[in-house]
Structure formats: structure tokens, C-alpha cells
Amino acid sequence: MTNSLHDMGGMHGFGRVEPEPDEPPFHQRWEGRVLAMQRAIGFTGLWTIDAGRAALEALPPLDYLGSSYYRRWFLGLQNRLLQRGLVDADEIAAGHSLRAGAALPRTLTEADVAKTQTRGEFARPTNAPARFKEGDRVRARNLNPPTHTRLPRYARGKTGTVEAVRGCHVFPDTAALGAGDNPQWLYTVVFPARELWGPDADPAIKVSIEAFEPYLDPA
């Protein structure tokens, strides 16, 4: 979902940032197991990373805010498995499998774990020329799709400058729907803080987003 609580940039009221000295990778054993299950299921190719993010964004707002990070991941993973019919609610209630599993495209074995420890490749070939170049002035479109997008609310309608062209990448808005890569040019677009937050903002501050071409118009 687009305008849900995950899109937090610029919100007030959440309080201080509280760094924890010498924080361990996991605070509880189950957190590591959730991360590992997420990675292992990701490896199967059942859905894209963008579909996984969309599952978190679709959590009810109070669940999203009221859950720790890994609880959120757990709920998103379990919900997707249920929605895809890969696990059934009676099995969740019973705590064990009640029927045979579906055949998956592939599963993660010990021999393949190393492959999950390097990030995937999101660049895709294209014949389409990039619409914008470094230095171009652009305006982020005012988009409010009911489905997944990576254009944060705080940038919509705002004018910035293309700082870098990052290549042609998988388009999350399409990939999240399971509708293919639909590759699009990706740009780093820089906005002065005053453009985003008004005349009282600090002129020494600028914010960049990584913006796909369908998010942008010439300005």
C-alpha cells in the first residue's frame, strides 16, 4: 500500500532516537529464525522482495506500529504464506503440517546459503533512452496508488535536481504485484530541505531520493 504508516519521512511525534550500545545482531533467538526463514523463502523465488515489502505495508496500522521489527516481518511472512495457500490456518493453529507441501521452484540448501549473502542484481537491460540526465530539473509526480510504490509522500509534487543516473532497474511498483520487472531508469534526485519542508528549513540541508523515471516529470 502506498499511503500507509510505513512511509514515515517527516512525521512528528515518535520521540528520540535511542541507540543501544553494543547491540547484538538479534535480541531473541526467534528474531534470527524469522530473518533466516525470510531469506530462505526469498530464495525460492515465490515472490519478489517488493512483494515482501508490500506485505509489511499491508499490515493493519496498529499491528505495524505496535510490533517490533522482526514481529512485523514474521506477520508479513506468515500472511503471505497463508494468502498463497502454501500454509493453511489450521496448520498454524496446530503448530505442525497437516498436509503435504506444494512443489516450489527451488529451496535453499546449506550448499546455497552463500548465494543469499550477496545482494541480488536489480539492473536490467533496456532499449529505452534515459529521459533525464545529470543536472536536469524534475518534479516528483503526485502519485497515490493504492498499491506498492517507492516514491515517499514527502517528495510528491516537489521540485529537485537529478544528481546521478543509476541505470535501468526492476520497477518495484510493478514487481510488487507479481507483474514482472517492467525495468525503468533510476535517478538520484536531490531536493533542498526548504523545498520539502518550507521556508523555515535549514538552507544547508538537502535530501535525495532514488526515483524511478515514472515518478518524475520535467520541471
Partner: protein, 212 residues
């Protein structure tokens, strides 16, 4: 507070942890019985993040950049290519971007939409990076956030906040502290903290490293 129950000392109900342990074990049992996951592979993933994939990887890369101007030039031009062709660092995937702090510009990395983080070089993101306070405020109140990390920059320093809204990942190259001329890469790496590579900290001064 949101995310506060991620802290063991501050969880909301006191029962969530045991409830979560039960729920997570149940799901793992089901997925294992159905043949969707292999518990031994899960063990290896957890072990990797607990022992190997952490900010020491990034610190070694930054130390090399401080010590070797040609490597730094390549790192800033294409960090993925520079890291992988060096041959002595853990391999990284595509789209790693290094951004350099200078006396004129300080860089700060955030993911306002989720938790995107250069985990190959820094390990898993800390809880604060994934928390609502950081995600909401880094883009609108970066100086306030930096102050909470004990960082105060000269007023004329420009701050560039990088919101990680795509699959590009950002590694901050902090400024090299004075008084480290001639240091080995191994010694320099001890000055390079995780937070300094996210932009919420600065590299340690030589006397701070000696004290730690």
C-alpha cells in the same frame, strides 16, 4: 513507543517474547515438514550474521580508501566494482555507492520506507536505524538526530541525507581523523565505527581508539 518492544528491557507486555518464540517455532516446524525450508540452512544464515557479516567488513574498505587514494577514487566512482576487484574483501552485490564526507558536506543515510541498509558491508541494521524516530526524523530534523548521537557539525557544513528508496545502497566514507598519518590499514580500521559509515557518527580520534 513503536519498536520499543524490540528492546529486551522495554517490551510492552512481557509476554510477547515467549508468545513470539512459540509462534516462530510453529511456523518453522510447518515450513520444515512441508519441505519449504531446511533448518540447517537457517542455522547457517543466523550464524553468518552473528559472526561474519558485520561492520568490520565496511571498516576495512574505508581504511583502504583512507590509505590508498587510487582505491578511494575507484570506490567513489563504483563501490561494487572497487570492492570486488580488490580481491581481499567479501564480495558485494550490485549498486553499492560510497559517499564521502568532507569539511564541506556530511552524508547521512536513512530508509524512510523500510530498513534498506548496506548489510553486506555493515551487517544487520541496528534497531534504531529501523525505528520510527529515526525513519521519520532523519529527513526533516537531521541536526536533531545527529545531536542525539552526540554529533555536532560546524554550522556551515552542508548535510546530504540519502533516502534509500531503491536497491542502491549507500556507504558513508567518514573523514580521516588528524594524527593518523602513516598508520596501517589495520590500525585505521579500529577508528571506523558502524555509525560513522551510516553518517550518525564520526570516525574515532586516535586517543579514543586507544581507550577502547
Amino acid at each position: 513507543m513503536p519498536d520499543s518492544n524490540a528492546h529486551p528491557h522495554d517490551h510492552a507486555s512481557g509476554s510477547e517474547l515467549s508468545e513470539m518464540e512459540v509462534r516462530v517455532r510453529a511456523l518453522e516446524t510447518i515450513l520444515t515438514e512441508k519441505g519449504y525450508v531446511d533448518p540447517a540452512a537457517l542455522d547457517q544464515i543466523v550464524e553468518a550474521f552473528e559472526t561474519r557479516i558485520g561492520p568490520r567488513n565496511g571498516a576495512r574498505i574505508v581504511a583502504r580508501a583512507w590509505a590508498d587514494p587510487e582505491f578511494k577514487r575507484r570506490l567513489l566512482a563504483d563501490a561494487t566494482e572497487a570492492v570486488n576487484s580488490a580481491g581481499c574483501f567479501s564480495r558485494v552485490g550490485s549498486h553499492l555507492i560510497a559517499v564521502e564526507n568532507t569539511p564541506q558536506t556530511h552524508n547521512l543515510v536513512v530508509c524512510t520506507l523500510c530498513s534498506c541498509y548496506p548489510w553486506e558491508v555493515l551487517g544487520l541494521p541496528p534497531t534504531w536505524y529501523k525505528s520510527a524516530p529515526y525513519r521519520s526524523r532523519a529527513v526533516i530534523d537531521p541536526k536533531g538526530v545527529l545531536a542525539e548521537f552526540g554529533v555536532t557539525l560546524p554550522p556551515e557544513t552542508q548535510i546530504h541525507i540519502w533516502d534509500s528508496t531503491a536497491e542502491t545502497r549507500f556507504l558513508v566514507v567518514p573523514m580521516r581523523p588528524a594524527g593518523t598519518e602513516g598508520w596501517s590499514e589495520e590500525r585505521l580500521a579500529l577508528l571506523i565505527t558502524r555509525d560513522s559509515m551510516v553518517g550518525t557518527g564520526l570516525a574515532k580520534a586516535p586517543h579514543e581508539a586507544a581507550a577502547s
